[in-house]
């Protein structure tokens, strides 16, 4: 393979991995703490992308659009958590999955009503290119990777150095015991859900300039996000990072070797990993309480 093509593919894979990571971390945290499958995170991803589009068109500043996407996605997540999820935390896992899928489909309908069905382009915040080992790479893709790395560090610091983060980690192990200490876990649930929604919105906003924004964009990445969460292990932040990198590179390099591999190879990797380690790379054997 042409080395320049390979370098370009690796950078592309890293930027894809960054988007997958930002999206999957919310799903993973929500499952880990609340034992819910929150497919509506994919809606917040779309909301983030559309806000980036609208605000960048109005203000001319894509970064402002990305920021608006984060804020609106977080607020949407807050409303959904307060009025819907809070009522169903005690129910079976499948109930949350079906409910969140309903929210996603309903939300896609709202997006179509507001923005229409025509895909929208979002301008790159910077058209600059940088040369890496003789290969020209878009600076924006590197910025996406950098932002995802900063988010990982931020999440790590939040979970390990703040008392709320420690309570969330404890809750991922056993939420009942956390409540028994006297900690209001429903507040932890809200904080986690809003963080998850805001990060999904950030993923959408950052991804928007790399793709065409369209109402189905959340559904299009659904399978990849699921693979990332399952390969990494539900509830594991480190696992989510590692599996994002794996899936991102497999999609990118796979497409360079043989285009259909981009879709097939991640599934094959997931099956292989599940055969060897059914809990995923860093997952623990968690059960619905």
């Amino acid at each position: 393979m042409d080395p320049q093509l390979l370098i370009s593919g690796v950078i592309f894979g890293l930027s894809m991995a960054s988007v997958y990571f930002l999206m999957s971390i919310g799903l993973s945290l929500c499952f880990g703490l609340m034992r819910i499958i929150s497919l509506d995170q994919l809606l917040y991803y779309s909301v983030g992308a559309y806000l980036a589009y609208t605000v960048s068109v109005v203000s001319g500043n894509v970064w402002l659009g990305v920021l608006a996407g984060v804020v609106v996605s977080g607020m949407t997540a807050l409303v959904v958590e307060r009025f819907i999820f809070r009522r169903i935390y005690e129910r079976e896992l499948t109930f949350s999955m079906i409910t969140s899928f309903g929210i996603l489909i309903g939300g896609v309908g709202v997006i179509k009503a507001i923005w229409g069905v025509v895909p929208r382009p979002v301008r790159m915040p910077t058209p600059d290119l940088v040369t890496i080992f003789g290969t020209e790479v878009p600076v924006y893709r590197l910025m996406v990777v950098g932002i995802a790395a900063l988010v990982y560090i931020g999440i790590w610091l939040f979970l390990n150095k703040t008392i709320i983060g420690k309570a969330i980690r404890a809750g991922i192990e056993d939420v009942e015991h956390v409540e028994g200490l006297g900690i209001n876990v429903s507040r932890l649930f809200t904080i986690t859900f809003v963080i998850a929604g805001a990060l999904s919105g950030l993923a959408g906003g950052l991804h928007a300039p790399l793709i065409m924004v369209d109402p189905q964009m959340g559904l299009e990445v659904l399978a990849f996000v699921f693979m990332v969460v399952i390969i990494g292990g539900l509830g594991s932040i480190k696992g989510t990072l590692v599996s994002s990198l794996i899936v991102g590179q497999v999609v990118s390099i796979g497409s360079l070797i043989y285009a259909p591999l981009a879709l097939m190879a991640p599934f094959a990797i997931m099956l292989l990993i599940l055969l060897v380690k059914p809990t995923g790379l860093y997952g623990s054997t968690m059960v619905k309480k």
């Binding site: 008392i163 420690k166 309570a167 980690r169 404890a170 991922i172 192990e173 056993d174 009942e176 015991h177 956390v178 409540e179 028994g180 200490l181 006297g182 900690i183 209001n184 876990v185």
Partner: protein
């Protein structure tokens, strides 16, 4: 008569259609150690979990210092000064001992660990160890120590000595004595010599009912409790 630390009246609990506790009545006076004995499945753990808010009774009342406990979430009950120490010795294994205690402090706003370290000096040298690497006895020390933060008025302790070495059981016996100076303790326990050594009163349970109330003191012997196991 002085106000009781914990009063339970007519408590009935069911798992779906299956009733597991029947008209439970009991009282715990301040600074009293009350033990519950009975076979597996007698309803001892269900009783403690119902008082602590983890299970919703179908009827009945439970009050601590005159304050109603029923219908509140477990974190509210804990904040009312009624702490539950479960039997599974499940500490937060991914967190260090220090972090486990920090969570207890965060919940109670009690950041003074002097009493915890006084009761369990070993925890001082284990502060930075991940709780998942602690022995069973060390886990129990951590769980009881963490529960003492905030000076609870009632502690509900489920099978604290199960599977522990005799030396640790002896130490826990001393700790329970010390804790009872500031709190009322309800302890579910199968270790009859320990029960007889610490209990001011014993409730024997069978099939979800309290079938006997035995006074503590010299008259309380393992032989007196054995028929209920």
């Amino acid at each position: 008569m002085a106000e009781q630390s914990l009063v339970v009246r007519g408590l009935n609990v069911a798992y779906g259609e299956s009733k597991v506790l029947f008209d439970i009545d009991f009282d715990v006076a301040p600074n009293q150690i009350v033990c519950c004995v009975g076979r597996n499945g007698a309803g001892k753990t269900t009783l403690l979990k119902s008082i602590a808010g983890f299970l919703k009774p179908s009827s009945g009342a439970a009050t601590a210092g005159g304050v109603n406990l029923i219908g509140h979430r477990p974190y509210d009950v804990a904040r009312m000064g009624v702490k539950y120490v479960p039997q599974d010795k499940k500490v937060f294994s991914d967190l260090t001992v220090r972090e486990n205690l920090e969570l207890g402090s965060y919940a109670t706003k009690d950041y003074n660990w002097d009493r915890v370290m006084e009761y369990f000096p070993k925890l001082k040298i284990l502060l930075d160890r991940k709780a998942g690497f602690l022995s069973g006895g060390e886990r129990q020390m951590l769980m009881i120590g963490r529960a003492t933060l905030g000076n609870p008025k009632v502690m509900l302790i489920d099978e604290p000595t199960e599977g522990l070495a005799p030396s640790i059981v002896t130490h826990l016996k001393y700790v329970f004595g010390e804790l009872s100076k500031s709190a009322a303790l309800v302890i579910v326990e199968q270790n009859l010599p320990l029960v007889c050594g610490i209990a001011h009163k014993v409730y024997a349970m069978r099939d979800g009912r309290i079938v006997a109330e035995l006074p503590g003191g010299a008259a309380l012997t393992p032989a007196a409790c054995e028929p209920y196991l």
